[in-house]
Symmetry: C2
Subunit: 475 residues, 2 copies
């Protein structure tokens, strides 16, 4: 056990779907205790997470159905692969009054809401939760989501990031720039609710959006919610370095994680931000037993439940390749050369050796988990911590009962080692996340973040600096 200067942050990562995340079987004995459509069950889970001092609930999301595998949604619908899928923003609001400190981090892609509407919803929920929300920025990678939302052709990877850049700019202008500090005066004697001279149009005219403003809400505790992002491509990492306050790191071993951390530090410096301005998170799943034997037994039960069809449907959709078009049951070493080139090359290279089949690789990629005693799991967390990881997105494996295994058996060990908080810090989710770090500047977004450049100052005439396309303010 080593002393730790900075705790790890822990989010409980799931989906608003039967069983939760894909691969967590809605039909496992543990899942049968939980009905994802029942608010009372979610409230009980939120209270347990708060009791254990988790930082946040975190919901993955998409806005269509996993329909790439075999060119159909059949597997997704039959086996409930992250489907049906409720809206996590709405669930976050429904949970607001049942907890006091737990954060709510929801994914939402930029094509499902116009930024003017989305800004209004963010402000509303940040008020109602007293500043406990985070948004995971997603650029939507599903062609069927684009089609359903009236966008006939999905933008290319880089086009989607261009649009996301402008989407964020509109949000920054509305949330940070439309209402100056001190605009709300609530002067009852003179019947002045807000000082008109401090409330302004944003006059955004860009490539994707034209939004005159004004923002419909008075400033909420955080103004801009805490921003999460998960970029693994070059353009995605650059985007994260510019905009994210927390991000999911790709990487499953120490070498890969160290490389990703080094890479992000360089990119942050390039974006004029400090390394401490961005909290790198790793995704992790645990199977816990009071002995190693018990953990392994539980894991074997999980193996029996796990459906590789579910994983092929999920993997096809998230990787954008139809895994039914390749032989998934022959060892990669025995496949024709052309079968492991092109779109399947990266997947073939992810195989530890050539005796693996594509099915094996997908299973390994999407159902990896740590199996062991609370002490063994804490040892692994310590290693990530010492590498520079700042938070863990903790996923379920066997079903909803997993979380009680973790809160009751793993959390006390993590807390005893100083790896997990034993109480919440004061204030908003941003204050809690950055408390004790060099980047802590209170409830509002850090001054080095690009959103901060849209803050209004009394000297700026209305619209004077935001008229150009792209919308960067003049220096």
């Amino acid at each position: 056990m080593s002393s730790t200067s900075e705790r790890l942050r822990f989010c409980f990562f799931t989906s608003f779907a039967p069983g939760g995340a894909p691969g967590v079987m809605w039909d496992s004995p543990a899942s049968r205790t939980f009905n994802y459509l029942d608010l009372d069950d979610w409230i009980a889970l939120a209270k347990e997470l708060e009791r254990a001092k988790f930082d946040a609930f975190f919901w993955a999301d998409h806005s269509s159905v996993h329909d790439v595998y075999r060119g159909t949604w059949e597997t997704a619908v039959r086996e409930a692969v992250q489907f049906p899928l409720g809206d996590p923003f709405t669930l976050s609001s429904a949970l607001a009054s049942s907890t006091q400190d737990l954060g709510f981090a929801f994914s939402a892609n930029i094509i499902q809401d116009h930024p003017y509407t989305f800004a209004r919803r963010l402000s509303t929920l940040d008020h109602l939760t007293k500043g406990r929300i985070a948004w995971n920025i997603v650029t939507s990678w599903q062609p069927s989501a684009w089609a359903n939302l009236g966008r006939n052709v999905m933008g290319s990877h880089s086009e989607r990031y261009l649009e996301a850049e402008e989407y964020l700019t509109v949000l920054y202008k509305l949330l940070e720039g439309s209402w100056e500090d001190g605009a709300v005066v609530r002067d009852m004697a003179n019947r002045v609710y807000a000082d008109v001279s401090k409330v302004r149009k944003i006059n955004h005219i860009g490539h994707f959006y034209a939004v005159p403003g004004v923002h419909t809400n008075e400033p909420s505790p955080q103004r801009m919610p805490v921003l999460f992002q998960a970029g693994s491509s070059d353009v995605g990492r650059t985007f994260a370095a510019r905009h994210a306050e927390a991000m999911f790191l790709a990487g499953t071993n120490a070498r890969g994680v160290r490389a990703a951390l080094d890479d992000m530090r360089r990119r942050l410096a390039g974006a004029g931000r400090e390394a401490s301005d961005l909290l790198p998170f790793l995704g992790q799943k645990f199977v816990v037993g009071s002995t190693e034997e018990e953990a392994k037994r539980k894991d074997r039960e999980f193996e029996e439940y796990l459906s590789s069809e579910t994983m092929l449907a999920f993997g096809s959709s998230t990787m954008g390749v139809d895994l039914s078009t390749v032989d998934v049951d022959t060892p990669i070493g025995e496949l024709e050369t052309q079968a492991v080139q092109g779109q399947f090359k990266a997947l073939a290279e992810a195989a530890p050796d050539k005796s693996f089949t594509f099915r094996d690789v997908v299973m390994r990629m999407f159902s990896g988990r740590l199996v062991g005693t609370p002490e063994q799991i804490a040892d692994a967390m310590q290693e990530w911590h010492d590498l520079g990881v700042k938070g863990i997105n903790l996923g379920m494996v066997r079903g909803w009962d997993d979380i009680y295994d973790i809160t009751q058996h793993v959390v006390p060990v993590l807390q005893a080692r100083g790896l997990m908080q034993t109480d919440y810090s004061h204030g908003t989710f941003r204050e809690k996340m950055f408390a004790g770090t060099p980047s802590d500047e209170g409830a509002r977004i850090n001054h080095r973040h690009p959103a901060a450049r849209y803050r209004r100052h009394p000297a700026q005439p209305e619209g004077a600096c935001w008229d150009g396309p792209g919308g960067d303010p003049l220096p």
Copy 2:
């Protein structure tokens, strides 16, 4: 006191804004007890409404700022005229766990959300509230809302209703048609969550929207939430007769209300629906005193607080005419003939006599209220009831304390007369609203409603009947 065969339904009508509705002063002593940004205050109010057996909270909404008067939002921002304005859908969700029976009726205009996204949110919230939601359909009448949402030119009145018609068609297909009854099987032994043959695309291709589907959510208790609408124009009333299950009636006197009721009965028959399929609501505001003297004293206090500038800003926006361009302080009888023609003609005709100024007319139009003892107020409700009105949308006058005046003093009198329920009926909001009426068919929308025509039957091949523009199914 007369016996009543059918109770009145009561919604508490407000906005998610300082003070609530326009004209309810955020700076009145009663308002000072309530912070519209504090969820705890809303929860306390919801619990009080449920204790008193109100049917629902009802939030008006718009998605911009009242900026027609003087061509600026200055009055709206300074005097907090329904601004700033939180999102009532988000608030509905935040209140879901604090009550068991109270309904949540929120306004939402059709330009702020794509119907595919909106359908997902409706299903999510209907699940989380166990079927307690209603949607008030709004076509957005604010040019600045259109501009902010990337729609440069606001559609004409009839174009907006055409778009609303198609918007609803997409929702009906998604919510009623995409998942057949019995599609969700949750067969754990065979790992079948849903029967793929009963989950279908909607293949909507219309003038405004193209939505392939599938709907992202399994069917919620009500599927389609209860539909409210407030159409006063010819096209609006026709729309309401076709789609609404409850509507706001225009009319402030018995003659006008009777005429509106007769007109709606004719239109309902033309739409193939029964008169009992639509519940007509009236908006009403009360100032209550234990004696007539006390009520009048309270009303004089209200008069002192009331700002006619607030009313001119609100009236200009909702009527789409800038009241700063006309002389609002000269009696209408003394104005030039041309000043009372054109866009101001209807307002001039609303004056009881020609000694009224436009300011007087606007004040009368938007701050009308009943002033009296609980018994006097119950007498007035009895009259509406006997005319055929089925529900009251109850607005505040003096501020948040009004509601306690009403729940503590007026509600017991209404209940004693059989005008208000003394307990909730079983089931969803739709079941509660229609319990004991000839139109009660349970949680799902009535079979005569156009939405019912999109219900799937096993014999229909996928997409076979929904391929045409406009999307009506074949007979």
